[in-house]
């Protein structure tokens, strides 16, 4: 029992007695302080775990959403960068393959495995990618570090992703730039620099020089259009993980019988609005840029770099007698940063679906 403490009210024995009785039920200041300190320490210990639990919950929610995307009949490619059993190291070829988890595609004869992504080094030999547990959901999510000089991912099969202006498609991905550099190419199915200028089926790359200098900007090439957004209102160096989407929606035919379509780029679920059609600014290239050479030459889909025409960019190594694609096509404009998800749909997703992808995937 606590010893009665001396009263400051004086020697009144009755009041002292009742006061002492009353005081024995109280804690001392030191005890209260100690309790508060312990509670504060416990809370401080617990808070990081609560935060991590929240991150894990978001990760699980995203993973379920990603799996449901794999079942979409129009989803051709789904790289979630998690591989098998939460491990990027695929059983097929450890650490060298992005496994396409798409399973519900309705395309006839479509084999998801043929659209796996292969980690490559543009000089040949072992790739220099780094797998890092530093994706969107911290240690729960794997990401691939592109080094900006020789790393790229090759999806060699082209049949199902040889889109034409007559059909719609959507490409979505999560990217984190180390530092934006000119030409940092997120993805491409292109042969820039062919004799007929820049052949491209579709691509997306960073271009800080479009419009007002210094503003964030992206260029895209889709079929015969080279478009640029002068200001994306996003500081990509500080934005962390950024969600990109490129959508092409076929709208019909024009008076000359040529296919028409709408191109929209989205950043973090928001459409960027009207772009500057640089093809129209320079009309002599309007018929030159195009997708047909890419289809004819079976140009592969590439992540983290652009496919370029070797004869133009590297004529010393071009052999005019060698018709192989390896001779015609070289890799350039490698991207430095991380990527941790990529999906390709063979239809134009609705705005709300793209927002849903962003909402489910954001940290």
């Amino acid at each position: 029992m606590r010893k009665p403490q001396q009263s400051f009210r004086g020697p009144d024995s009755e009041s002292e007695s009742s006061c002492s009785k009353f005081r024995t039920a109280r804690f001392t200041l030191v005890e209260i302080m100690m309790t508060m300190i312990i509670i504060a320490i416990m809370a401080a210990l617990l808070l990081p775990y609560l935060k991590e639990a929240k991150t894990q919950a978001k990760y699980v929610r995203w993973l379920q959403f990603n799996r449901s995307a794999s079942n979409d009949p129009d989803c051709l490619i789904n790289f979630n960068f998690q591989g098998n059993s939460n491990n990027p190291l695929s059983a097929e070829s450890p650490g060298d393959v992005l496994v396409n988890s798409s399973i519900g595609t309705s395309s006839e004869g479509f084999t998801p495995k043929l659209y796996n992504g292969y980690l490559r080094n543009k000089n040949g030999g072992a790739h220099n990618f780094e797998w890092v547990r530093a994706g969107r959901f911290g240690r729960f999510k794997w990401a691939l570090q592109f080094n900006g000089s020789d790393t790229y991912v090759l999806i060699p099969t082209t049949n199902a992703i040889d889109f034409t202006p007559y059909t719609g498609f959507t490409i979505l991905c999560w990217v984190k730039f180390d530092k934006l550099g000119f030409g940092d190419t997120i993805f491409s199915k292109s042969l820039w620099g062919t004799a007929s200028d820049a052949a491209a089926q579709y691509d997306m790359y960073y271009n800080p020089y479009a419009g007002s200098f210094g503003q964030g900007s992206f260029d895209i090439d889709v079929f015969t259009t080279c478009g640029t957004w002068t200001n994306t209102d996003v500081d990509f160096d500080k934005a962390g993980w950024v969600h990109f989407a490129l959508r092409y929606k076929a709208t019909g035919m024009d008076a000359q019988g040529k296919p028409t379509g709408e191109i929209t780029a989205f950043i973090n679920g928001q459409p960027l609005g009207d772009y500057v059609d640089t093809t129209n600014e320079n009309p002599q290239t309007a018929t030159a840029t195009g997708y047909q050479p890419c289809i004819d030459m079976r140009v592969p889909f590439i992540l983290g770099a652009a496919g370029v025409y070797r004869k133009y960019w590297d004529p010393d190594t071009y052999d005019p007698n060698d018709p192989s694609l390896a001779n015609e096509m070289a890799i350039k404009f490698n991207f430095q940063g991380k990527m941790d998800e990529l999906l390709v749909y063979k239809r134009a997703l609705k705005d709300s679906e793209i927002v849903q992808h962003y909402d489910m995937g954001k940290e």
Binding site: N128, Q145, D178, W192, D197, T279, T285
Partner: protein, 147 residues
Amino acid sequence: MDIKEIGLYIWTDGKRRNIAIMSILILISGSILIYNLTHQPKPPPPGAIRVVICKKCKYVDLQRIIDISSGIYKCRECGGPVGLAWKCGSCKYEYYILDSKPDLAKMKNTMQKFQFTTRTSRCPNCNEEKNVNPMTVSEFKNEYGDR
């Protein structure tokens, strides 16, 4: 005094009991805190391994780079500033590129923009424009081994 007597000695006095309980709590909390601090999973280092070249002594090296323009990266040999190493495909000359602002009015389409890039990264040795690229880790290892 055996352990039972010590226990009784502490437990029968309220003040000692409180102190004992608080001490145990502090010990447990402290242990958890120390465990957490020492067992935090380390995040991977940011940036990518790039080939850099010293602007002073031309020493070529591998460094983990986030933003080369920040100026924080120094040469391992002489302490001078480093730039990203580029290599000319024609004459095999190794150099670093200089920052250059574009002439916006002259750039309308993709090819013109990329031609601008090639001009800024032009080889200072042979003036080659197109066949110039950032030096890759593989090229570095072929030339310099495990430097």
